[in-house]
């Protein structure tokens, strides 16, 4: 069922099983039939932990979405609220509970906070006079959710906004807690590296928590050798640029949510294109990214332009496998062949999916719009004309292209230029306000506060220096070879993804960090170091979000033969530039006059 989680060096299925067990235990505490009232934000992540079948086994008969007013009718004994600890949700729950009592026979209420119980929320429920109505008030500490064999996410959408805009470090606390859970299962991590203020904060909290838990640690041989905490703030650039890896592109174009990509969009496009004949494609309902991986992890991570030949290679191998049946002579051989059939059929259907997705994406990536946008991004990143108003951006505003696209471009330019000149910045801002409405002044203010958009403070722009010294930009990449060798100067040891790009402006992946000499860099060693040398496992935690392109880059490093280090990636949120900017926006909805 969750086999995709266990193929890696670290079996993340253990984590999932623990989470499932905890959920089952809670459900069993409430005897009898139950209905779950969901906080909408939780349904997606929960789908990765427990499908409806599991809930059904534990007598969950109905599921509702939490909304104000009266609870829907359901003939169940227990009502379980599954919510994040937010005050506004508490008010809704209180309303639900209060309107309930008047109308029907009593049902038992329970509340399960995800990921943590909050005194503040309980206080609020108490003020509303409903705290006593809950039989069980517990927390379900679902911090890190396994997404893939090497990928964990907290799916905290607002983490970056909270940390950098609102100075609310709740999500960092949860991250530290999540890491503690991880350490309880996989042994405590002997080395912690980090970069950035948030990283330091998390590391400090972990050390503190470790002290709190002295005595209950089980002496497991650590699975992870190193933890690398990376502050998103350190590299604002990468997420702003369009991702060019395969999975990254799917995310950019169609959006991946909880490792699902709504294939309706694909199907629709396909219908328009090929007519009804291809409608029987297996792309129905949801397409699970994780399942797609069955074909080969390779396809997902490879740079898009290269992935087409890869897919055809893969398809050739699979059909060769199918042809083998003609060669099978003995009964044993046939038996062996038959035993492989299900796997091969799955692989084939999955391959078919990929082929159609690849075609759809190819249509988009070969379009002029896409190319123009990319060209400008590339120019910014190579430091061309970053200090002037970009004609392309200006034109896009005039055309009233989506606001997020504009913001991405402007921010990208600002980051690449280490801030924009007052004149340029004001020009962009005025254009945006006039075109998209004055209410966006708050969004612009947010972007400035979080450093994505800034005024050039000194005349010196250090981006080109960084770019050159770290060799973030690779000019001589053989496209078929797919990946450049890692730059010599960069120490890959505590894992910074080294960046590369191609001459024709086809960037593969970009920076993360690698400024080992930087003073913000810190290291603490809470425990004795485990095995040294070969086959080390490093957990890279991106505080504030990570993009699929960065994941692909780390996966590439894992696969490199001489690296010897495997990378597991954890993050507060899987994101792309669009969702990132979206989280920083302030949406003002005017009341109609």
């Amino acid at each position: 069922m969750a086999s995709h989680l266990s193929y890696g060096r670290v079996n993340l299925n253990i984590l999932r099983e623990v989470a499932r067990k905890e959920l089952r235990e809670f459900l069993d505490k409430c005897a009898g039939s139950k209905a779950i009232v969901w906080d909408e934000h939780l349904t997606g992540p929960f789908g990765l932990i427990a499908q409806y079948s599991l809930l059904k086994e534990h007598e969950v008969e109905k599921m509702f979405t939490l909304k104000a007013g009266q609870l829907p009718v359901a003939d169940v004994k227990n009502i379980i609220f599954l919510v994040r600890p937010r005050l506004e949700l508490m008010d809704i729950i209180a309303q639900n509970v209060l309107s309930e009592d008047k109308h029907r026979s009593r049902r038992d209420f329970h509340i399960l906070f995800v990921p943590r119980r909050s005194l503040l929320c309980e206080q609020r429920l108490k003020e509303q006079g409903v705290l006593g109505s809950f039989h069980h008030r517990e927390e379900y500490s679902l911090d890190l959710i396994p997404f893939d064999g090497d990928l964990l996410s907290m799916e905290a959408e607002t983490a970056f906004r909270e940390c950098y805009l609102e100075n609310d470090q709740t999500s960092l606390y949860h991250a530290a807690k999540g890491l503690m859970t991880l350490q309880a299962l996989y042994g405590s991590i002997p080395q912690i590296f980090g970069k950035g203020e948030s990283a330091r904060h998390v590391a400090n909290m972990m050390l503190r928590m470790k002290r709190e838990f002295t005595g209950c640690q089980n002496p497991i041989l650590p699975v992870f050798d190193t933890l690398l905490l990376l502050d998103r703030n350190v590299d604002l650039l990468t997420p702003l640029a369009t991702q060019l890896t395969y999975e990254g592109l799917i995310d950019e174009i169609y959006g991946i949510q909880n490792s699902k990509c709504n294939s309706d969009k694909f199907a629709q496009k396909k219908n328009n294109k090929f007519g009804k004949s291809t409608c029987s494609s297996p792309l129905q309902g949801y397409l699970k990214m994780a399942k797609l991986l069955v074909v080969s992890t390779e396809v997902v991570n490879k740079k898009f332009r290269v992935s087409s030949p890869l897919i055809s290679k893969e398809s050739f191998t699979i059909s060769a496998h199918f042809k083998e049946r003609h060669n099978a002579k003995t009964v044993g051989e046939i038996k062996q062949f038959v035993s492989q059939l299900p796997h091969m059929q799955a692989a084939r259907s999955s391959l078919a999916n990929h082929t159609s997705i690849a075609e759809l994406i190819k249509d988009i990536t070969t379009s002029d719009e896409f190319f123009d946008n990319l060209t400008v991004e590339q120019e910014f990143m190579s430091g061309i004309e970053t200090d002037k108003v970009s004609v392309y951006t200006e034109e896009s505003i005039t055309k009233k292209d989506p606001l997020i696209k504009i913001l991405r471009l402007v921010c990208l330019q600002s980051v690449c230029n280490n801030g924009l000149k007052q004149k340029v910045l004001d020009y962009y801002k005025r254009e945006i306000l006039q075109t998209y409405g004055y209410e966006h002044i708050l969004t612009l203010n947010n972007l400035e506060k979080s450093g994505l958009l800034k005024l050039q403070s000194s005349s010196r722009n250090n981006y080109p220096t960084i770019r050159k010294t770290l060799r973030l930009w690779m000019d001589d990449v053989n496209e078929q070879h797919a990946f450049p060798p890692p730059p010599q100067g960069v120490n890959l040891q505590p894992a910074s993804v080294s960046p590369a790009s191609t001459a024709s402006g086809k960037r593969i992946y970009l920076t993360i960090v690698s400024m080992i000499t930087n003073k913000h860099y810190f290291l603490c060693m809470p425990g004795p170091i485990g095995q040294q040398g070969e086959n080390r496992v490093t957990l890279v935690f991106f505080l504030g979000g990570v993009t699929y392109a960065e994941i692909a880059a780390l996966r590439f490093l894992s696969q490199m033969e001489d690296g010897g280090t495997e990378y597991i990636i954890a993050t507060t949120k899987l994101m792309n530039g669009t969702s990132w900017i979206k989280s920083l926006m302030d949406r003002l909805e005017a009341a109609p006059f």
Binding site: E166, D168, T398, G437, E589, A590
Partner: protein
């Protein structure tokens, strides 16, 4: 040493013997006459209340309460200053209960310090308590009292005091001759005898009962004994007759005639676990009788003893002795032991013999078990050696029994030491469990021994050593003569980071003792902030609590304290406090943003954060203002704030917004179409769509819209309306700042190739080829490309040529290319 069986007395098919446990350490001249005496079960402490004041009645001489260990070590003694005590007894957790005649029960700990008191009800004040009994049940320790009005009141568990008044016995005029508490099946009853009538009292009824198989010679009952497990009942009649049976009164087990006509001073049951034949022990001033089925053993005394319940420890003023049902009647084990002890070669023979009979295993097990019943280490050793020898001849003998017994005995011998004075027998020990034993040692402040035992028995630190250390620390904080620093340091030194230690519990204890400074010092060592904070709040150290919460990173904790502070302080102080705690401040701001907008404003005001205030007004102008006037007014405030913040851009933008809003309102009134809240861009666009070119122009000028954007805007609006004439007119109005390519594109967007073609010739030379291709005029495109002599453009056109109809174009291009190559 006399042979081990020398002091064995048979009773039926079991043996009883007498073992001297301790020569009492105390220095007591007289016997226990006129004393209230109580000994705690399971080898616990002994309490004495010397009631000498009863005789002298002088106010100066008060009774003295003394507490001793089982071996007679004094643990406490103090003059009794409260009222008349009727009864004393121990609880299961070794607290001393003193029942006074006014119904008040005072509780003391084992060292004689007062813990608390409770009352058995106000109605006993007048008639007074005449008798009381302390009893134990699975639900805890209970107290039953008999008032002067011959009414019973009982409380089953003194920890959760619930008084229950039992029904009265109809027509009872005198004090009952004897009574006992029966705690059975969740209900506490009292069995009482007046003369030869027996009654059972419970909450609701008073039932008269008769004993099955009672002899005719009974005139009245004078003593009742109930076994510790409430299973058996014995009654002593004035004729010296003892009836023994089940407490359910369903069955008589046996009876016995002592022929002693005086009622005994005390009568108790003697029961061993798995015992086949319980017996009753009755004592008179100078005689002790163990009565079984038709038989008895009599032990005469010099001094009147006091008998404790269970396992018959009995005490006189010099010695603590014990009667025990002897265990060594298992004969295989016994003989084996017997020969082994004599080091006789017969041991070997016997061993072979029983081995052949397959009884060796039984014999070894019995030896091990028997060792548990011995008090004398030498005897224990011999028995265990015998077992050890025997088990060598058994293959695959499970070691555990033997090892465990050795270990347990070692522990027991350690606590048997007269300096410790806990004469716990092996069965008692197994029943009591190690945890409770350690608790008892802790209670006696025998911390080192407790830790040693924990270590010896390899009890996990959590359940063992840490628990002991924590208790030690709690005791330590109560020693007021040492200063705070020293105590804190000493505690930390001993405890360090021992797992499972809760510094906050220790601190809480220190706080209870009024040592707040010490409590704070101790809390410093507490790693769990969640534990530190509540206590700090309780001690009103909210500032410190806030610091700790922030340190922990647990934002919920911070919120909790912030709300606490908010209720506790006045607004000014509260804000000042937050000012010094940026983390708390920003969290509180978040809270206010969602919950209390006005407070948020005040916060910004206090900080003179005009930028944020401006933002605040902008936000509220959208979210809260329902009228356009209100919106404008709020935006004006925003402008003021932005100006104060020297944020010129924002001020200007907001002013523009106000201007736009006013303009839009006018438009909306004039045109009766929704204009409000459109962006400037959309407003102009809509105006053009509505043919209001003048207003559009006005906006364009007023808001200094860049030419480029205005042109684009206008042409797209015109194209959308398909006002091609107007578009053309506009294109000619002056030179286009955006070139003419957008005209081509926009026309094509609205599917008018014809219109698009009009603009192609005006397109700048670089884009001309592309423009021609877009409108589908490949021939012209080729011309343009040839004109430019640009190879890549030629190729582009070539790539677009597909069908045969464009054959001429292809040829033309190829010719041009060939020419290019020549050059």
């Amino acid at each position: 040493m006399a042979f081990v069986t020398a002091n064995w007395n048979p009773l039926g098919n079991v043996f009883y013997r007498k073992i001297d446990l301790y020569a009492m350490e105390w220095n007591m001249r007289e016997d226990f006459k006129d004393c209230l005496i109580a000994a705690a079960p399971y080898g616990g402490a002994i309490a004495l209340l010397k009631e000498d004041s009863r005789r002298e009645r002088s106010p100066s001489s008060r009774p003295v309460l003394e507490i001793y260990s089982s071996s007679g070590f004094p643990m406490a003694n103090f003059p009794w200053k409260s009222g008349q005590v009727v009864h004393i007894g121990w609880t299961l957790s070794e607290d001393l209960l003193c029942v006074q005649d006014n119904g008040t029960v005072l509780i003391y700990d084992i060292f004689g310090s007062f813990k608390r008191h409770f009352s058995m009800g106000s109605e006993v004040l007048q008639p007074r308590v005449i008798e009381a009994k302390v009893f134990h049940s699975p639900y805890g320790t209970g107290v039953a009292i008999l008032t002067g009005a011959y009414k019973f009141t009982c409380a089953t568990n003194i920890e959760e005091l619930k008084l229950r008044r039992l029904t009265e016995v109809p027509g009872l005029q005198n004090s009952p001759s004897c009574w006992a508490v029966l705690a059975q099946e969740r209900e506490t009853k009292v069995i009482l005898a007046t003369g030869k009538d027996l009654y059972i009292l419970d909450n609701t009824a008073c039932t008269s009962v008769t004993l099955p198989g009672i002899g005719p010679q009974v005139n009245s009952y004078c003593e009742i004994a109930v076994s510790f497990n409430y299973k058996y009942l014995a009654l002593f009649a004035d004729s010296g007759y003892i009836w023994m049976g089940l407490s359910s009164l369903q069955e008589k087990m046996w009876e016995f005639d002592t022929k002693i006509r005086t009622p005994p001073k005390q009568m108790v049951w003697c029961i061993r676990p798995k015992c086949k034949q319980p017996s009753v022990v009755a004592r008179w001033d100078k005689l002790l009788v163990v009565a079984g089925k038709q038989e008895s053993i009599q032990y005469p005394f010099m001094n009147p003893p006091y008998v404790f319940l269970m396992y018959l420890n009995y005490l006189n003023h010099a010695k603590l002795e014990m009667r025990q049902e002897s265990s060594l009647f298992f004969h295989e084990g016994f003989f084996f032991f017997f020969f082994f002890k004599k080091e006789s070669q017969k041991a070997d023979e016997y061993l072979r013999e029983i081995k052949d009979q397959n009884l060796l295993l039984v014999a070894v097990q019995q030896c091990i078990e028997a060792a548990g019943y011995e008090h004398e280490p030498n005897t224990q050793k011999t028995l265990l050696r015998a077992a050890s020898f025997g088990k060598c001849f058994i293959s695959d003998y499970p070691r555990d029994d033997f090892v465990n017994m050795c270990r347990d005995l070692r522990v027991l011998n350690a606590i048997h030491d007269y300096r410790i004075g806990i004469p716990l027998s092996y069965p008692q020990y197994t029943k009591l469990t190690t945890e409770v034993l350690i608790d008892r040692l802790v209670l006696r402040r025998l911390y080192p021994l407790a830790i040693k035992i924990c270590e010896y028995l390899k009890i996990s630190e959590f359940r063992g050593a840490s628990r002991v250390l924590a208790h030690w620390a709690c005791y330590k904080v109560q020693q007021k003569d040492e200063n705070d620093d020293e105590v804190a340091r000493a505690i930390n030194q001993k405890l360090g980071d021992t797992p499972g230690i809760s510094y906050s519990d220790i601190a809480a204890r220190a706080y209870e003792c009024g040592r707040m400074e010490l409590a704070i010092k101790l809390l410093e060592y507490e790693p769990r902030s969640g534990e530190q904070v509540p206590l700090l709040l309780k001690m009103k150290r909210s500032q410190l609590a806030l610091n700790k919460a922030i340190e922990s990173g647990d934002t919920d904790l911070v919120y909790t304290i912030v709300t606490h502070l908010k209720n506790e302080m006045n607004r000014g102080d509260f804000f000042m406090t937050l000012q010094n705690q940026p983390v708390a401040l920003s969290l509180y701001r978040q809270f206010c943003k969602h919950q209390e907008q006005d407070t948020l404003k005040d916060l910004y005001n206090q900080d003179d954060d005009h930028q944020e205030l401006g933002n605040f007004y902008v936000r509220s102008s959208y979210s809260f203002e329902k009228t356009i006037e209100g919106r404008v007014a709020t935006l004006h405030s925003a402008v003021d704030e932005y100006n104060k913040a020297k944020s010129e851009f924002a001020a200007k933008a907001t002013e523009d917004q106000i201007k736009l809003l006013r303009f839009q309102r006018r438009l909306q009134e004039e045109l009766d179409k929704p204009y409000l809240d459109l962006s400037l861009h959309d407003t102009i666009h809509n105006l053009i769509l509505d043919n209001k070119h003048k207003q559009a122009e006005q906006l364009y000028k007023d808001f200094k819209v860049p030419d480029k954007r205005f042109w684009r805007l206008k042409i797209s609006a015109l194209a959308e309306k398909e006002e091609w004439e107007e578009l053309e007119k506009f294109s000619k109005s002056k030179k286009s700042p955006i070139g003419y390519m957008p005209f081509v594109e926009i026309c094509l967007k609205y599917h008018s190739r014809y219109e698009a073609k009009k603009y192609v010739p005006k397109v700048s030379p670089e884009q001309k080829v592309k423009a021609y291709i877009m409108v589908g005029d490949l021939d012209q495109a080729a011309e343009a490309a040839i004109e430019h002599k640009n190879d890549s453009e030629l190729n582009l056109v070539l790539s677009k040529c597909t069908s045969a109809t464009q054959q001429s174009v292809v040829e033309k291009i190829n010719k041009a290319k060939a020419q290019l190559l020549k050059k």
